[in-house]
């Protein structure tokens, strides 16, 4: 996680900020400072510092950018950086059995509220989660 993204995530003592702070303390999330200047991306794609840094970090590490932001996704596509979203991860983790279906269903409800995804996305994710592990076939 980029330093600016971590600062943004930890800005206020919300529940998710506390969870992220704990993961950082436990060393399960690492803060990485980026030397590369993110101002160009911020200007060109109208991104905030944390989002620009996340894209730059993924590009530098030839890795995947995890974001639920539409503009950051557009930036990833233009720069050829692979990206994933919370919903994509939720479905994939459920299908591979890393996440139990009951927990996945609970998280889907949360994402419906806080992720504010398009109904078509929610429907597709719901179907894939329901079908996960039933017959080994993906819907």
């Amino acid at each position: 996680m980029g330093g600016a993204a971590a600062d943004e995530a930890l800005a206020k003592r919300s529940d998710d900020a506390i969870a992220i702070a704990t993961l950082i303390e436990e060393g399960r999330i690492r803060r990485i400072s980026i030397e590369e200047d993110s101002r160009g991306l911020m200007r060109d794609f109208r991104l905030h510092a944390g989002e620009a840094e996340a894209v730059l970090l993924a590009r530098r590490k030839k890795s995947v950018c995890g974001t639920d932001d539409g503009r950051a996704i557009r930036c990833c596509k233009v720069l050829g950086v692979r990206f994933t979203t919370a919903m994509g991860l939720l479905v994939a983790l459920t299908e591979t059995g890393e996440l139990e279906k009951s927990l996945a269903s609970e998280l889907l409800v949360k994402l419906e509220r806080f992720g504010r995804y398009h109904p078509r996305i929610l429907e597709d994710a719901g179907l894939r989660i329901s079908a996960a592990g039933e017959d080994g076939e993906k819907p």
């Binding site: 206020k12 990206f83 994939a92 591979t96 806080f114 504010r116 398009h118 996305i121």
Partner: protein, 90 residues
């Protein structure tokens, strides 16, 4: 001005207070509209409104503003996540 006076009377507030509140609410509305249209990122919108990311997400959720993530982007993100998990298991 007539509407501002009307609202000030209704809410029993000073004219200047009501005017300031309306400007603030208009500022929020403009930011939300730009976000919904995909012109602003979540972080930029939050920063413009002086909110943390978490507070911005709560506000969007409360007002029912949909995420600008498209279906095809979700499918691509799902494919990437699947291959990522597959790679880590190998």
């Amino acid at each position: 001005m007539r509407r501002v006076r009307e609202l000030a009377k209704k809410e029993r507030k000073e004219l200047s207070t009501v005017a300031r509140e309306l400007i603030d609410q208009g500022w929020v509305l403009v930011a939300l509209r730009e976000y919904r249209e995909g012109k602003l990122s979540l972080g930029t919108m939050a920063s413009r409104l002086g909110l943390s990311l978490s507070e911005a997400i709560d506000l969007l959720s409360e007002l029912g503003v949909r995420s600008p993530i498209e279906y095809d982007d979700y499918l691509a993100s799902y494919a990437t996540a699947s291959s990522l998990i597959g790679d880590s298991e190998r």
